[in-house]
Structures are given as structure tokens and as C-alpha cells.
């Protein structure tokens, strides 16, 4: 009896800690969401906490009317889709051949790739290379140089290695070549890992801003959404200082900032819960191989 009681107290503590964690993760985002929906007056009066006061969609309609913000959102969406497709193609092209034990030079190629995970030249050599390649201030610098992640490639390779070899061998005996085996056997079996890695690549691109700041500072047209947001959030005055549009009530600019943040956040928040089952396997595979 005493044992049961103490374990009940233990369960209570555990549940309490989890509720606390949920609130800690959820409330900050909720707070911004509520602010984005509140009227400028109530924001200035500082009485918006957990529920919107005087619900007002002006901030959203203003952000939606801002052509600079809209273009950046659309451009980043296109860029993210393009980069994800490119990155996934490269990842599969790199990972698949490396699972063939018979492939001559496999070990050399493997270590050739792994070294780059532990030692990188750094920002300045990259900058100088991109300059020589004419990539500085070109939107291609956001897509090409960081397209393949060794870490994701290892996850892909580990997953492909776990597919029973007998499937491949019997197909080889039937005379199928490696490309055919990849398309008709391996890819259909790897949808879960492809979904996971696509999510990783897409989130990385959607959320990235430092590459644009480093390598594309003067090409403001092609700023990704996060870099534009950085200037919007950092601007002490209001959004119009960053985008030269919108209007200038102080409280309104706070609501606009909040609405701008929400627009860039909602796409990801809508996608990731559905992929949860997959990315857990992805992360675990990555950890297994270090």
C-alpha cells in the first residue's frame, strides 16, 4: 500500500513537470500570436497577455499587403522547395553507391567525405572561393554551396544499409542494374527517411539567414524571409523602416512585427507534427553511426 502511494506521488511530480514543460514551450509562441491579433491601443496599454484584446486583423492585412514581405515569403518558399529537391537528390546519389560492399574504392571515398565533417576550412576561405566563382551576391549562393550535408548522408546510408541485402542480390541475379534496383526497390522502401531528411533540409533552408548575411549582403531582392525578419524585428521604430511600407502608429508596429513573425512560423508549425513518427527514426539512425 505504502509503495503504491509513493509511486502515485512520483507520477504526480512527473505529470507536473511535463505540464510545466508544455507551458514553457507553448506560451511564448502563444503570446506573440495573441499580440498579433490585438488592437494597437491594447498593446500600448500593455494589457495583452494570454488572450487577444479587441481582436483586430489590421496587422495581418498590412503584412499581407506589404509587397516586399510577400515576395520574400514566396521567394523563400520556392527556394526551400528547390533546395530540398536538390539536396535530397545529391544525398541519395551519394549514399546509395556507398552501400555496395563490392564497390572498389568505397573506403577511400567514404573517408574522403567523412573528413569534411570534422575539418572545415571556415567562413573566410568559403567567401573567397565563392567570390572567385562569382557567387557573391548571387541568389545561387543560397542553394549550391551547402546543398549536401554529410550528417544527413550518413543517416540515408545507414537506412539503406538496413534494407535486407537479399532483395538487392536477387534483383542482381535477375539482371537488374544498380539504377533499376535503386528506383524499383530502394526508393519505394525509403519514403520515411526521405520524408525525414527533406524535413531537415527544408527547415534548415527556411530558417537559415547567416549565409545570406555573409555571402549575399547587397542583393536585397533575394533576401530570405528570416533575414528580412531580422531587420524588421531589430528596427527600433517599426516595420516601415525595414520595408518602407505600412503605417506608423507605435502600437501597430508591434502588432505588425508579431504578425510578420507568425507568418514565417506557421508553415513549419503546421508541417512538423505530422512527420514526428518519421524524424524520430531519422535522428536515431544518425546517432547510431555517430
Amino acid at each position: 500500500m505504502i509503495k503504491a502511494k509513493s509511486s502515485k506521488i512520483g507520477d504526480g511530480i512527473v505529470v507536473f513537470l511535463c505540464v510545466l514543460l508544455i507551458l514553457l514551450c507553448f506560451l511564448p509562441v502563444w503570446n506573440v500570436f495573441v499580440r498579433s491579433l490585438s488592437s494597437p491601443q491594447s498593446l500600448i496599454k500593455n494589457d495583452v497577455y494570454l488572450w487577444p484584446k479587441e481582436i483586430d486583423f489590421t496587422a495581418y492585412s498590412l503584412v499581407l499587403k506589404d509587397s516586399k514581405y510577400n515576395w520574400s515569403l514566396a521567394w523563400t518558399a520556392m527556394l526551400t522547395v528547390g533546395c530540398t529537391v536538390l539536396s535530397m537528390t545529391m544525398t541519395i546519389l551519394c549514399a546509395y553507391p556507398l552501400i555496395f560492399d563490392k564497390l572498389k574504392g568505397r573506403k577511400i571515398i567514404n573517408s574522403f567525405i567523412l573528413i569534411t565533417m570534422y575539418f572545415s576550412a571556415g567562413t573566410i576561405p568559403n567567401y573567397l572561393l565563392f567570390k572567385d566563382l562569382g557567387l557573391i551576391n548571387s541568389p545561387f549562393v543560397l542553394a549550391i554551396p551547402f546543398t549536401l550535408s554529410v550528417f544527413n548522408m550518413i543517416i540515408m546510408r545507414t537506412f539503406l544499409q538496413n534494407i535486407p541485402e537479399s532483395l538487392r542480390e536477387s534483383a542482381e541475379i535477375d539482371g537488374a542494374n544498380p539504377v533499376r534496383i535503386l528506383i524499383s526497390i530502394y526508393l519505394p522502401l525509403s519514403t520515411s527517411v526521405i520524408a525525414t531528411l527533406s524535413l531537415f533540409y527544408a527547415v534548415g533552408r527556411w530558417n537559415g539567414y547567416s549565409d545570406a548575411l555573409f555571402f549575399m549582403p547587397q542583393n536585397k531582392t533575394y533576401y530570405p524571409i528570416q533575414l528580412l525578419l531580422y531587420f524588421i524585428i531589430q528596427s527600433k521604430e517599426s516595420v516601415e523602416a525595414a520595408t518602407q511600407e505600412g503605417f506608423s502608429t507605435p502600437g501597430a508596429s508591434d502588432a505588425i512585427k508579431a504578425a510578420a513573425v507568425m507568418f514565417a512560423t506557421i508553415p513549419i508549425l503546421m508541417v512538423y507534427p505530422w512527420l514526428q513518427r518519421y524524424f524520430i527514426t531519422g535522428v536515431t539512425l544518425g546517432a547510431m553511426k555517430g
Binding site: 512520483g10 503570446n31 570534422y118 576550412a121 554551396p145 512538423y272
Partner: protein, 316 residues
């Protein structure tokens, strides 16, 4: 004899031809990734020589003149630069605090989630805990700016209503450091717990049954069964983390920084950006980057060696 040797040779050649006929497509697939690694990972390494040379816009890296002091001019300059010294100190401080407080956090979270008896509630907790990982540092810094604002922020309003003084979370260097560490943990704790939760599913349930039969309390069960089951995962992740002790992230400190706290928020990556990309001191910045890479490799190899000495699997 010669006929036999010839036959052997011919067979070998036939086998090789068969091999390439069957597998040439694999090499064709690898071509693009290998070219990618050569161009974007290995060629930049040749540019590293500018760390030992006097940078000039008009010359290629191979043609520039060697720097003074046997080429180490810019390393000496870096180490006698006050800003570099502060950047190094800040990097080490933020990384060590992040390691000390941020490394155990996901382990504790995994232990707590593992004790949770309600499956559905556990799943909801996990989903919400993963969320911060999917937010960009720009957005997180925006959230932090609003929540921790001294006058109007939610946190300070709550503090004042409870009768405390408001705290300048983001405007005072010391407070900024703790806020930075806390936000860093907030962003990563759920995500990093995934690996530990996966490792926990590998623990033999019989061990728990045996512990229950022996009358072990919850705490004793965690200590004697759960934690030992996580041991090798913890060590591998610790090794990986050690490699990053001087490597400095750019996105979080740059997004969260403001002019009042640059004395603690300028880390090495920001220093490299300010001097080498915004400024014109390419050689100096490249030297600092090389220093970071080399120390990072030394740390990974070192911790791996130590882990092996303690009888763990290590990374290689």
C-alpha cells in the same frame, strides 16, 4: 606456363570488364557528390594559406606574399588583439555553460518522460517539446525580445505583479548570458531528448521487472537500470559536443545580441564576420577560423581517446 599466365590475365581482364559493366553507374552517381566535395569542401582548404599570407585583392591565394614572423604574423596579431581575446573568452564561457547546463537537460527530460505512465499525454508533451527546434533563431530572438522586455514583457509583468523588481534580462551583460543559456536549452532540450528516448527503448524490460521484484524504489530504478542503459549514448554525444567547444555558432548569438551586451555576446564567429566579411582583415579572420578548426579536431580526437581508455566504443 606462359599460356596459363595469359589465360589468367585474360580472365582477370574479363572479370574487371564485367565489374565495370555492372557497376559503372554507381561511379556515375558518385561523380556529382564527389565533385561537390572537391569544390566546396576541399578547394576552400587551399585558400587557408591566406592565414599565413598578406591578403591582397589583386592576387590569387597562391601568389600572395608570405606574412612576417615565418608566416605566423596574423596568428600573433590575433592573439594580441583584445577583441579576439574577448571573443575567445565569450565563446568558451557560453559553450562551457551551455555544456554544463544544456548537456544534462535532455537526459533529465528523457528520464521524466520515461516515467510518465500515460501514453497519449507523453506524445503530446513530446510534440510540444520538439516545437522550439523548428523555430529559427531570428524568430526565437523576436519571442525573447517581447517576453523579456523590461517594461512591457510578459515575464517582467508577472514578476512585478508578484511584488518583485523587474529584471533587465537582455540589456545587462550578466543577465544576458543566463538568458542566452536558458533560451539555448529551451530550443534544444526536446529535440536532443529524442536520442535518449530511443536508447531507453533498448533497455531490457526484464531488468525493470527484476528491480521491481527486489523492491527497488523509483529513484533506485532510475539510478541502477535506466541511467546505465544510457551510458554509451551519453558518452558518444559528449564526445561530439566536445568538438564544438571552440567552434562557435553564429545564428543564436548574432540574433540575440544587442548593442548593450556586445562585451559578452561577441563570439569568435561574430568576430570573424566583423573583421573578415564586414571588415577587410581577411588574413586575420582566416587565421582565427583555422585556429578554431584545428582546436576542434584536437578536442574530438582527445575526447575519443579518453572515452576509449575508459572502455567505451567511441566514434571510431
Amino acid at each position: 606456363m606462359t599460356a596459363e599466365a595469359q589465360a589468367l590475365k585474360a580472365r582477370k581482364r574479363y572479370k574487371a570488364r564485367l565489374y565495370y559493366k555492372r557497376y559503372w553507374t554507381l561511379y556515375a552517381m558518385l561523380a556529382l557528390p564527389v565533385i561537390y566535395f572537391v569544390i566546396f569542401k576541399y578547394i576552400p582548404m587551399t585558400y587557408l594559406q591566406i592565414a599565413f599570407k598578406d591578403f591582397s585583392i589583386t592576387k590569387s591565394a597562391w601568389e600572395m606574399d608570405w606574412a612576417g614572423n615565418n608566416g605566423f604574423e596574423y596568428f600573433i596579431k590575433a592573439f594580441s588583439d583584445r577583441d579576439f581575446f574577448y571573443a575567445l573568452r565569450n565563446t568558451l564561457m557560453l559553450n562551457l555553460l551551455g555544456l554544463a547546463l544544456g548537456f544534462p537537460a535532455p537526459i533529465l527530460l528523457a528520464l521524466v518522460l520515461n516515467e510518465l505512465p500515460y501514453k497519449r499525454f507523453k506524445k503530446i508533451t513530446q510534440t510540444v517539446a520538439y516545437m522550439p527546434h523548428f523555430l529559427s533563431w531570428i524568430i526565437i530572438s523576436g519571442l525573447a525580445l517581447q517576453l523579456f522586455a523590461t517594461r512591457f514583457g510578459l515575464v517582467n509583468t508577472v514578476l512585478r505583479n508578484m511584488g518583485f523588481e523587474s529584471i533587465q534580462f537582455l540589456d545587462k551583460p550578466t543577465n544576458w548570458v543566463w538568458t542566452y543559456i536558458f533560451v539555448g536549452i529551451w530550443q534544444s532540450v526536446g529535440w536532443n531528448a529524442i536520442i535518449y528516448l530511443a536508447a531507453l527503448t533498448g533497455i531490457n524490460p526484464e531488468l525493470y521487472e527484476a528491480a521491481a521484484v527486489d523492491g527497488a524504489s523509483r529513484m533506485r530504478r532510475i539510478w541502477h537500470v535506466t541511467l546505465p542503459g544510457l551510458r554509451s549514448t551519453i558518452i558518444v554525444l559528449l564526445i561530439l559536443r566536445m568538438g564544438y567547444i571552440v567552434a562557435s555558432d553564429f545564428d543564436q548569438p548574432y540574433a540575440m545580441s544587442n548593442t548593450l551586451v556586445t562585451s559578452v555576446s561577441n563570439v569568435l564567429s561574430v568576430f570573424v564576420y566583423n573583421r573578415g566579411i564586414k571588415g577587410t582583415q581577411k588574413s586575420l579572420a582566416a587565421a582565427v577560423g583555422l585556429f578554431q578548426s584545428v582546436v576542434g579536431v584536437i578536442f574530438v580526437i582527445g575526447t575519443n581517446q579518453i572515452a576509449k581508455r575508459f572502455g567505451e566504443r567511441g566514434l571510431w
